[in-house]
């Protein structure tokens, strides 16, 4: 068989700029947002984390949002409310 060419089946994902805001030097007096991903015990874990941030790091308050499900990003309402009402957000997989 003579030489031939084959085609690349892959693609590169679109690149999105992603920048983090600076981490606060201290959590003292900060309002903490907790984003719960609907999995078993993720709410309990986040409540515990929130309590530690208040008791040991001086955070002022916590509030929690619940995502639609664990397979999707936090929905727009969460993002908008978080921007308005908290200084720091804790999110992660609870499983």
């Amino acid at each position: 068989m003579a030489g031939f060419e084959i085609l690349d089946p892959t693609v590169e994902p679109r690149r999105q700029p992603l920048t983090y805001v600076p981490r606060p030097d201290s959590l003292k007096g900060k309002r903490i947002g907790l984003v719960e991903n609907t999995k078993y015990n993720s709410d309990k874990l986040l409540v515990r984390i929130g309590d530690i941030l208040k008791q040991e790091y001086g955070a002022a308050e916590t509030r929690m949002w619940r995502k639609h499900n664990s397979g999707v990003p936090a929905h727009a309402e969460i993002i908008e409310e978080a921007k308005r009402t908290v200084d720091v957000v804790v999110a992660g997989i609870g499983d």
């Binding site: 068989m1 030489g3 031939f4 060419e5 084959i6 085609l7 690349d8 089946p9 892959t10 693609v11 994902p13 679109r14 999105q16 609907t38 078993y40 015990n41 639609h68 499900n69 664990s70 397979g71 999707v72 990003p73 499983d95």
Partner: protein, 347 residues
């Protein structure tokens, strides 16, 4: 619409070098692939009348646009013929539908495969297997269409096992998981017609699915007897709160159930009512958290939210007292089965 194929090209000396290149690049599912040459890819595109750059789907959370060209390349690699391309495209559209919720089932430790059920005239014309050895090897259409979708997931969307596909145990259906409904012998309304398509349409239903669970009933001559056996094994879920179950009823069971005059709706209702578990049982077997309360002994939980969440399909060999059920993956809020009409030609 451009006709230019824009994918990067690799020059190879022969078939062996092409195959090894595909392996070394990580483009295969572990099995050998057909080298995707431009003529073969063009034949795929021409079969559906799509330009290479046409976007057929978009996976939001991966920010990946899936072009007709990339689907065609992966379909060639999987061993599809051009006439399979419409089915592959429809399945790719299905898994890209927000209701299917790509990220969850594709990525989860739960290890779902993409169960594809093909209905309508195209299933017969392309000889999709709906009979003996239903989930087994031996039929090109079943083997290559499901494989093409999995290669699109891997190569285009980046769903690579061990990286973005974190299935803990997975299952063999992640190579390919395609069946057709035996519409010729089924006494019932075909699945796609129940799900909003016209009976004369061809359609593919995609469901995020765990492996098939076979059950056996050679003793009963009644619908309730056959389905009672199935429900007894089915009610102990591997997970709790699945969005869908697919029930695949093969020849002997199909005829027994139909002889009692049961419709698919009757079957769904029976299964729904006979697969509940008590909350106490689910807690006792560590499927639901919490201490068991007195009321948990009588409070029950259904397997799925509504009878309509059970997909009933007539398929499998004519002989043998076996049928199966297939649990869906995760929950109704994370993934639902989606039925997509197969368009033979695009604009």
């Amino acid at each position: 619409m451009t006709t230019r194929i824009s994918s990067q090209r690799y020059a190879v000396e022969d078939f062996h070098e092409a195959l090894e290149l595909c392996y070394s690049k990580g483009w295969t599912d572990g099995l050998p692939v057909v080298p995707p040459t431009e003529p073969a890819v063009r034949a795929m595109l021409e079969a559906v009348g799509l330009g290479p750059d046409v976007q057929v789907a978009f996976i939001t959370n991966r920010q990946v646009a899936i072009s007709a060209e990339k689907v065609a390349i992966n379909a060639v690699m999987a061993g599809c013929r051009p006439e399979h391309m419409p089915v592959v495209l429809a399945a790719v559209e299905g898994i890209s539908d927000p209701r299917w919720g790509y990220h969850g089932p594709a990525t989860s430790t739960g290890g779902a495969g993409v169960l594809m059920i093909v209905n309508g005239p195209i299933a017969r014309r392309l000889d999709f297997n709906c009979g003996d050895n239903l989930f087994g090897p031996g039929w090109r259409s079943n083997a290559t269409v499901g494989r093409a979708v999995r290669l699109v997931m891997r190569n285009v969307i980046g769903t690579i096992p061990g990286r973005l596909d974190r299935g803990t145990v997975g299952h063999p259906g992640k190579y390919t998981y395609v069946i057709a409904e035996n519409e010729a012998e089924s006494p019932w309304t075909p699945l796609h017609a129940e799900r909003g398509c016209r009976p004369e349409d061809s359609a593919v239903t995609v469901m995020a699915a765990l492996g098939p669970h076979q059950f056996y009933n050679q003793l009963s001559g009644t619908a309730a007897g056959v389905l009672g056996t199935m429900c007894d094994t089915m009610r102990n879920p591997g997970m709790v709160g699945q969005p869908n179950y697919c029930v695949v009823l093969a020849g002997e069971h199909m005829r027994t159930i139909a002889a009692d005059g049961w419709s698919k709706s009757d079957i769904r209702k029976y299964i729904f009512e006979n697969t509940t578990s008590t909350i106490a049982h689910l807690k006792r077997t560590a499927r639901v958290p919490g201490a068991i309360k007195a009321e948990d002994e009588t409070a029950t939980r259904p397997l799925v939210l509504t009878p309509d969440d059970i997909l009933v399909v007539a398929a499998g060999g004519r002989a043998g007292s076996f049928s199966c059920y297939i649990p869906g993956w995760a929950s109704r809020t994370t993934s639902q089965a989606v039925t997509t009409v197969i368009k033979e030609r695009r604009p």
